[in-house]
């Protein structure tokens, strides 16, 4: 399967290839992937793709997927309007 075509993060349209490249670039955490690619940073905040990003990180580093730490959840955990918090 061509990795450059397979979209992993649907919200931000990040491909498997881009995530692998980010790992080669030195990313070793979900946070590192987020900062390099914007995967997990769209509307769903990683509800869909975070487990996939973890699998790629684990595979590329030769670890188990559950050894990769989950990205820190921060409020607001749902999309809200600015007017609701100020």
């Amino acid at each position: 399967m061509p990795d450059d075509k397979l979209i992993v993060c649907r919200c931000e349209e990040v491909t498997l290839d881009e995530i692998k490249k980010a790992v080669k670039d030195g990313a070793s955490t979900v946070s590192g992937i987020k900062k390099r690619t914007r995967a997990c940073m769209g509307m769903c905040q990683g509800r869909v793709c975070q487990s996939l990003v973890k699998k790629v990180l684990a595979h590329e580093s030769g670890n188990q997927a559950d050894s990769i730490e989950t990205a820190t959840s921060r409020s607001p955990v749902r999309p809200i309007q600015l007017g609701e918090i100020i």
Binding site: I7, S51, A65, S75, P76, I80
Partner: protein
Amino acid sequence: MKTDVAIVGAGPAGLSAALYLARRGLGVVVLDEYFRAGGRLAGQLYENPKKPPGQRLWDGKAIAEKLSGDVKKAGATILTGVSVWEIAPGSGVFISGGPCQKIAAKAVLIATGAAERAMPVEGWTIPGVMSAGAAQVFANVHGVLPGRKVVMAGIDPLSITVAGELKKAGVEVVGIFLPPPGILAGSSGLPQWVIGELSRSADMAPGTFLKMAGKLFGGSYREVGARLCSLAPANIWGIPLHLRKAVIRVEGEEQVDSVLTARISHDGKIEQEDCRIEADAVCLSGGLYPLTDLIAAAGCPLVSMPGLGGMVPLHGPLLQTQSKGVFLAGSVTGIEGAPVAIAQGHLAGVSIAAFLGRLGKGNRHELDRAVEMVGQAREESPLKFYPGADGARKELAALWDRWKINSAGGNYA
């Protein structure tokens, strides 16, 4: 808005807790994002052979309607179409889309349930591709067929159940296939692993399809081996179950028109492209995981428990968490069925009443009884989503004890 207990999630766990608490005379507000209470109960209809005759039918929709009706009658408020975006431990929850911005509460119950794990395939962003759970909601809740000719990719208890339900609803289910092998599918793309998982679920869960799966795969290793060698599909409810073929691409311009399949070797490698199958919808299944972002953002640590579906919040035997006054119930504590969620909701209700000093003297036995009822619901459960659940629960309990000793915290019960 001010109340005693704010409950996040109007599914089986949240409603069951609300019922107990409201009947005890506490103020309760239940919040849910969906327009209707009931959560995933709405899509469930099956027979449980572990129950005595006459009590076997599980009609989720009817149970949801009765439960939410009883909750309202008992005096609780249910707010639907409302999102909770932050827990303020000790003071309530912040909401969006409701009549106010904050529900001030002395205790909070998180019953957010589960979400589906994504299972990507090349072309999975084409309209007509959806998760197995989405197809189930279309068919069972809204009475809308997701397509006329549907292909399922991903082999697990949920995908097989949904495939059967779609067929009953009149959809032509062309087949259930492995997901495309590779990093993202991981072990769920390996024929041998899939058979192991299915047969372990079947041992514990004699539901109709699982019984059939059990007959097919639950026997000796030799049988399993023979099944693995065979390229011919197994047959479940007249639906071909392909353990040696994977969907490797979804095709179509404006919408799905076909999928490409490939033969898979025993160790999960593509042997050769197989054929192009016409379809107007594709369902992808990667299993369920606990929806923990809200509780994690409140500062509760998550621990990895593959037997419970992934990362789960650390919690105690009375469903308390490290955040004082914040409790959990249902699939957020680990993926299990609705009857377990109902029992856990009741336990969380009793536990919260005790925390708020409203259980009353001489009612401590209610806590023990509620714990027992959760155990009983587990035993009678017709479906195990993840075979390692029991071991994982024990491990979790040990982790909680260690935290309590180390922190001298958890002075709830």
